[in-house]
């Protein structure tokens, strides 16, 4: 959900530097959930994680996941569309017109593709609620096809039709195929395989990618080789359709997971994978490979509000447009005739013949730059690309050498053949030698050249079944201009005894796990905002009591583990000579009467109710020492100090 003024940003030549991945995500995404309804999908099963929970069928889980994804997307991408298509059911479509009118028999278009919508989500929710009450509800709603199966070829063809009718042309189009059948046909006929393969090819040629989510049964592993490998292998259904044309290699994204992991697997695919750039990477003169860049870490912000207008019968969004005007004459100026220069100054002397905002020049002369020239100043005439400068030790990449989030670089075999092997060799070498690469990078034509470090990333599986991909992290280094000198150059240093005391509680509070885990910390402000937005859209009450902030420290655990040691350290600190030292007045500041007040003294006066006897100066000095605000009248100051003393 981009704030209303995001568009101007794209057009505004001055601010490209600020531009982020957001503009790339303005593209619409369409997901068609295509769910198998065969008898096995409707069989009631125990929840593998919770034996007491009521039995549910796979179809329930699939629909639930589809709803969750829609709920999430409705906030992150309000322009996106979704639909739900069921196959292997005897339920037939009633509507004879519009979308889905011509789908094959035994398929049912439960929700045609359309913009995400509160009513549609409520529909699924109502259905799921009913199914919770009566486990047979889904079987009644969508009676499974008992004695035969729909050919997969028909399924793919129907997907194609549904998407053709419902999805905007420019959108990225995806089919989430959900099934637990590794052998979707009752008979194993070559003809069925061939037709599935051809229809899938058609689907892909229409720009649709298929992302299968296969459900693994406890007792029997989902076997790709039975059917799907023959169909999918040929068609390379990776998101990047340009990748993996090589039939000998398995495509990258087939999810085979337990039913309990279905939703989390889908979450990985919630946002279509999109490269931010595809540029050459020059290792040396004559050795250039292709790479693509992805934003794996991007701050997800709350959506800003947009402007709407009430048309009487409906509310419509309005868009903002920026026009350029002559400051005095108010005439509109065409964008292509805009020139760039320095301000002619505002505090002109009256005697000057240059007035405020205009600059007269001889006809034919031009004191200002064109947009192209301005762009070339920013790029220094470089073309987009990454250029290797050399290699350095990994340890030279300092913690503080950071200004913005990193990007992820992966080879692009399709722009330069041989990119993958070269990239992999480089990656392996750098991992082996514990090195990083220093590069000069211009990632887009309207950005500026940056010095970056390429940090090699080894392939690694984590506990949640997520595979950390191999590639390079492109980390932007600060320029000299970006580095601020330390404001504080001197400070009191702790003696060893105190360091020992701190060491004790730090040891107790050290987490065993694997460092900082982003997954453990959902953004509380964002969740709080979205929960209210959702409640408001569904016209429900928002209950703030239900809200849990997972980023708050676990104070109980802290006190239980280290409370005693922390107290010891505090006492040791009070004994330290630094506690009796007067702060050195920094040079240059004007001498003032000594206004320092002691905390114990102020506390006793507070208790005695004679706090007001202090002068404003003294009160402010105390507040300042506690890092509190010193604004307001004396009454405000007294109240603030009172509050603080009560709190502590």
């Amino acid at each position: 959900m981009a704030p209303y003024d995001d568009w101007n940003r794209v057009e505004d030549e001055d601010d490209e530097e600020l531009q982020d991945a957001s503009s790339f995500e303005a593209k619409k995404d369409v997901i068609l959930f295509c769910i198998d309804c065969c008898p096995s999908m409707l069989e009631l099963r125990e929840d593998p994680d919770d034996e007491d929970a009521p039995k549910k069928c796979h179809l329930y889980a699939a629909l639930d996941a589809a709803m969750q994804i829609q709920k999430k997307k409705i906030i992150t991408g309000p322009n996106d569309s979704a639909g739900i298509l069921l196959y292997n059911t005897t339920k037939s479509s009633e509507n004879k017109k519009g979308q889905g009118s011509e789908i094959k028999p035994n398929l049912y278009l439960y929700q045609p593709i359309g913009p995400l919508d509160v009513a549609k989500i409520q529909d699924i929710r109502a259905l799921l609620d009913a199914a919770k009450e009566d486990p047979e509800e889904l079987r009644r709603m969508f009676p499974p096809l008992e004695d035969k199966r729909v050919p997969m070829g028909d399924v793919f063809t129907s997907c194609n039709w549904v998407i053709r009718d419902g999805a905007p042309k420019t959108a990225s189009k995806r089919v989430f195929l959900i099934s637990n059948q590794d052998q979707p046909h009752l008979t194993n006929s070559q003809q069925l395989i061939t037709s599935a393969r051809t229809t899938l090819t058609d689907l892909m040629q229409a720009g649709v990618t298929v992302e299968p989510f296969f459900i693994n049964a406890e007792e029997e592993q989902f076997d790709l080789n039975k059917f799907y490998s023959h169909v999918l292998m040929q068609n390379a259904f990776a998101e990047d359709e340009d990748e993996e044309k090589d039939p000998s290699v398995l495509p990258e994204s087939i999810s085979i997971a337990r039913i309990g992991d279905l939703l989390s697997q889908m979450r990985f695919h919630e946002v279509p994978k999109r490269a931010q750039f595809s540029i050459p990477f020059e290792l040396g003169a004559g050795l250039t490979i292709g790479v693509k860049g992805y934003g794996l870490v991007t701050e997800q912000k709350k959506g800003g509000y947009k402007y709407f207008t009430d048309l009487g019968d409906r509310i419509e969004a309005v868009v903002s447009k920026t026009v350029y005007l002559d400051q005095e004459l108010e005439g509109e100026m065409d964008r292509s005739n805009v020139f760039y220069g320095m301000s002619v100054g505002s505090q002109e002397e009256k005697t000057e013949d240059i007035t405020g905002s205009v600059r007269p020049v001889l006809a034919g002369q031009r004191p200002f730059y064109t947009a192209d020239e301005v762009r070339s100043f920013r790029t220094l005439g470089l073309e987009p690309g990454i250029k290797l400068l050399g290699f350095k030790d990994r340890s030279t990449l300092a913690f503080e050498d950071n200004v913005k989030h990193s990007l992820f670089i992966y080879p692009d075999e399709l722009s330069y053949s041989g990119s993958k092997r070269t990239f992999t060799a480089l990656l392996k070498t750098l991992i082996k030698q514990d090195k990083i690469a220093l590069v000069l990078a211009l990632t887009r034509r309207n950005s500026s050249p940056l010095f970056c470090a390429l940090l090699p990333q080894e392939e690694k599986a984590d506990d949640a079944g997520w595979m950390e991909p191999s590639g390079f992290h492109l980390i932007t280094l600060p320029f000299a201009d970006d580095i601020r000198a330390a404001t504080v150059q001197e400070g009191y240093r702790a003696p060893t005894s105190l360091e020992e005391a701190a060491y004790a509680w730090i040891t107790k509070l050290s987490l065993k796990g694997s460092g900082y885990q982003p997954d453990s910390y959902p953004n509380p402000a964002l969740a709080y905002h979205n929960a209210q937005l959702e409640a408001s859209a569904f016209q429900e009450e928002f209950d703030e009591e239900d809200f849990e902030d997972l980023t708050e420290p676990n104070v109980d655990m802290i006190h239980k583990r280290a409370g005693k040691l922390m107290k010891d350290w505090k006492l040791a600190l009070l004994d330290d000579e630094s506690s009796n030292m007067v702060s050195v007045v920094s040079a240059g500041s004007k001498r003032k009467a000594d206004v320092s007040v002691d905390e114990t003294e102020i506390r006793s006066r507070h208790e005695a109710g004679t706090l007001a006897k202090y002068t404003n100066e003294q009160l402010k000095a105390f507040l300042k020492s506690k890092g509190l605000s010193v604004s307001g009248k004396k009454a405000d100051l007294l109240a603030r100090i009172g509050d603080w003393l009560d709190d502590h």
């Binding site: 790339f24 995400l116 020139f339 001889l362 201009d481």
Partner: protein
């Protein structure tokens, strides 16, 4: 970084405007876009003023109110200064610009200065400047005083009591710079000796050197050198302000006896410095017209047009065409849906355009707008203050726990880094932080911490790492992502390839072989930068090359330079911008030494990895509807190279080519040699729906093959449509490519080989005769390099081959060979005696070489 306080400075410029300053001089202008070198004649005064203007521009740019300046001129026709009005004397000295914070008016006023017809005494000017400055700073003794004197040293100087003046300058702690027009310089980096120097000037230069000796803080230099210095990038020093907050651990509310609460100060450690934005201007049009320039006629009959500064207005427009528009919005061109056309037609066809305009741009006044959020198709009204109630939070930094620093994932670091110090006013708090920092350092841990800027503002997650400086211990904070901020995309494994039979593959074109890995390892070792910089003390290469502390932001400083430039010149066509300062480009290429060292390893990699640029085969048109769809998918073209879009993509390449070639060689027939059936087919492909749009859409950068023409004339446009994959030399501009390659890299063999191949190809292609002169230049340059860089063998082999191709192949090019013969030795084989002179060797004797050309 010097500890000098930024701002709080009065800078006086003392400028010589005597008659002799009107002498003309020729300066070299930077090459224009066509590479044409040109010169320009200006007066010495104009040259000196350029320096002053650049200095003042710097002050304006930094925009500090306490950076003031004033301008005193001497050698003026009149007299107007404070010393004169008090005591008389000090003739021909004028307080031209009173001390003030400079603005663009200051620059404009400087432009009006003209050389006078008289002479003035520079020491008088200096005294007036000192007095004027002292007057201004009477009550501000701590301010920094600077005086810069610019003179050509042709004046008569009153030599009485100059020591007293020098003493006064020292007493007032004035920092003095004397900059002379064409003063001699023995600076090793800028040696200069003026020919035919006049006796007066000789004397005066000597005088100024003596003078500067006597002043505590003074230096002298020549203007040419000063001009180089003044364009050197400087960083604007910013001291981050401290903000107070608390660092917490545990429950400070109910378990205060155990919980820790420390007063800390935070400040930015890194902050991206961005160039100032340009102001926007447009040519003022006659009122009521859209395309007629407003022209005023000057007294001398010349015509003036007016550039007016632009302001912006935000319009709110109701989108009539539904959300389809949103995709098109980026380039500001809305598609005209057929439905609407019908409507318009029904209305009567007269004002179709305007009707549409009206339809499209239905403006809504701001008062009628509602604020709300989109929730799918629904509208959720926004609470009056623009957002929903915020999650209550408490100001401060809460520590959640500590973790092994080795587990820190550097790539997750999301933003600018902050310092966290113990309260600078409280030794106790400093001591507390210090103990924590030391303990964390010893234990090698970092802390996970949650940062809230002020009560009820949004929390951020991050890590704190301990750092020990010379005299203070502190923590550094960096923001880390929330779960919501991390994208999990699937990528195929690079090393773990599975065949369709489910087997793990050990050999595959995607997998590097052991041999390839070895070649890469050698390359990485050769390109190591840890010991690539010369230590100025020992003269050995043992320092690390590249440091963030010395890497200036090229864009920032280039933009700044451009801004200064356009503020001081009136026409950019006759006064093009100087090239970027070399310091900015210092790290744009690997160090020469490293390049040389890695030459063989790189060659080995090139041979072993065999990387080839993939030339996209245009898809033959499939069905009509697909082609149509492709046109709609402009956006897709930018990112994913979908087959369905390759037609538009290639077509636009073709367009660029067509646009470029004629300008180069008349009729573009050069491309004929290139054109094959595919290309011809492309010409017939439907043109892209939109005209080629130079406005950068972010994704356009993705494909190097679709670069716009506007980019092609930039200095380093590395993409030549006529350059074959794997080659460093293209056919469009081989000489330039060659020079660039030789200058920027040290891979001579590749350059010479490719050059040879390219020359041969051009020679035997049709219409080669048009390029004969160019090719001969190429040959000369190539031979020179081959001789100097010991690629003699390569040259001789090439030349024999060329002769063979010219004379014995069909169609060949006998004419060209006779041209080569005409070049004599410059185009002949390199003989052993010639090679010896350059330290190389050749097995070609003089006789053989002679025979070869006849």
């Amino acid at each position: 970084m010097p500890a000098e306080r930024a701002g709080y400075t009065v800078h006086m410029f003392v400028v010589d405007v005597s008659k002799s300053m009107g002498e003309p001089r020729t300066i070299h202008l930077p090459p224009d876009p066509n590479g044409e070198q040109s010169t320009k004649t200006i007066t010495n005064l104009e040259w000196a003023l350029q320096y002053v203007k650049l200095k003042i521009q710097g002050l304006i740019y930094d925009a500090r109110k306490t950076d003031k300046c004033g301008v005193i001129i001497f050698g003026a026709e009149e007299t107007r200064n404070i010393v004169n009005s008090k005591h008389g004397g000090y003739d021909n000295v004028v307080e031209y610009i009173p001390i003030a914070t400079p603005n663009a008016g200051t620059i404009a006023k400087l432009d009006k200065l003209k050389p006078s017809t008289v002479y003035g005494d520079p020491v008088d000017g200096l005294i007036v400047a000192t007095e004027t400055q002292a007057q201004e700073l009477k009550s501000k003794p701590t301010w920094t005083r600077k005086i810069t004197l610019l003179t050509d040293g042709q004046n008569i100087i009153e030599l009485e009591e100059w020591e007293a003046t020098a003493g006064k300058l020292s007493a007032l702690k004035v920092s003095l710079a004397v900059i002379g027009v064409d003063f001699d310089s023995d600076d090793p980096e800028y040696e200069y000796q003026e020919p035919n120097k006049s006796n007066v000037k000789l004397q005066n230069e000597k005088f100024w050197h003596d003078f500067v000796e006597k002043v505590d803080d003074a230096h002298i230099g020549t203007l040419g050198r000063a001009m180089v210095d003044v364009s050197e990038p400087t960083t604007k020093e910013t001291k981050s302000t401290l903000s107070a907050t608390v660092l917490r651990l545990g429950d400070v509310d109910t378990r205060a006896d155990e919980a820790i609460e420390l007063l800390v100060k935070t400040a930015k450690c890194t902050a991206v410095a961005r160039p100032k934005s340009f102001k926007k201007f447009g040519v003022r049009m006659k009122e009521g017209t859209k395309d007629q320039e407003e022209v005023t006629i000057n007294a001398d009959g010349t015509r003036n047009i007016t550039y007016a500064q632009l302001k912006t207005r935000t319009d709110y427009v109701l989108n009539q065409e539904g959300d389809e528009d949103e995709d098109e919005g980026e380039d500001g061109e809305k598609p005209k849906s057929p439905v609407k056309k019908e409507e318009v037609d029904a209305d009567g066809d007269v004002n179709m355009e305007e009707e549409e305009e009206g339809e499209k741009d239905r403006r809504v006044t701001k008062e009628d707008l509602l604020r709300g959020f989109r929730y799918g198709t629904a509208y959720v009204p926004c609470p009056p203050d623009g957002q929903f109630p915020r999650l209550p939070t408490k100001k401060g930094i809460d520590i959640l726990g500590f973790f092994d620093a080795k587990k820190f994932r550097r790539e997750l670091s999301m933003g600018e880094v902050y310092y966290v110090w113990g309260d600078d006013k409280s030794p106790q708090q400093q001591c507390a932080i210090s103990s924590i920092v030391q303990a964390m350092t010893r234990k090698e841990v970092m802390a996970i911490a949650r940062w809230v800027n002020k009560d009820d503002s949004d929390a951020k997650m991050g890590v704190l790492t301990p750092i020990q400086f010379d005299n203070v211990d502190c923590l550094l904070w960096s923001q880390m992502p929330f779960a919501d901020d991390v994208r999990k995309y699937n990528f195929a494994s690079l090393e773990n390839l599975v065949s369709k039979k489910g087997e793990v593959l050990a050999e595959h074109p995607y997998l590097p072989t052991n041999e390839q890995c070895k070649a890469m390892e050698n390359f990485v070792e050769a390109m190591d930068l840890m010991k690539a910089e010369k230590d100025p003390e020992t003269g050995k290469y043992e320092l690390e090359w590249f440091s963030t502390q010395e890497s200036y932001s090229p864009a920032l400083h280039r933009v700044k330079q451009a801004m200064f430039h356009c503020a001081v010149v009136n026409d950019l066509a006759t006064n093009p911008l100087d090239p970027p300062h070399p310091l900015l480009l210092r790290y744009f290429n690997p160090p020469k030494k490293v390049l040389k060292r890695s030459r063989d390893a790189l060659e080995d990699c090139i041979t072993k990895f065999k990387v080839k640029e993939v030339v996209r085969q245009p898809k033959r048109a499939r069905k009509q509807e697909h082609v149509h769809a492709a046109n709609d998918e402009d956006e897709e073209l930018l990112l994913d190279r979908k087959p369905s879009t390759s037609i538009t993509q290639e077509a636009s390449v073709q367009q660029v080519r067509n646009a470029q070639e004629p300008s180069k060689d008349g009729d573009g027939s050069e491309t004929e040699a290139e054109s094959d059936g595919e290309d011809l087919l492309l010409d017939k492909a439907p043109p892209p729906k939109k005209p080629f749009n130079p406005l950068p859409t972010p994704g356009r950068s993705v494909s190097p093959r679709t670069h716009s023409r506007s980019q092609s004339d930039l200095q380093d446009s590395s993409i030549d449509p006529q350059r074959d994959p794997g080659r460093v030399i293209g056919r469009t501009n081989p000489l330039e490519d060659f020079k660039k390659t030789v200058a920027s890299t040290a891979v001579y063999i590749k350059a010479v080989q490719d050059m040879g191949d390219v020359i041969t190809e051009i020679v035997v292609a049709p219409f080669a005769s048009r390029r004969t002169a160019e090719l001969k230049e190429c040959l000369k340059e190539m031979r020179r390099t081959a001789l100097g860089e010991d690629e003699i063998e390569t040259w001789n082999r090439f030349l024999k081959d060329l002769k063979d191709k010219c004379l014995n192949s069909r169609p060949g090019n006998k004419e060209f060979w006779s041209e080569v013969q005409g070049m004599g030795q410059k185009g002949g084989l390199i003989t052993s005696s010639e090679a010896k002179k350059f330290g190389g060797s050749s097995d070609v004797s003089e006789d053989v070489a002679l025979e070869f050309l006849n």
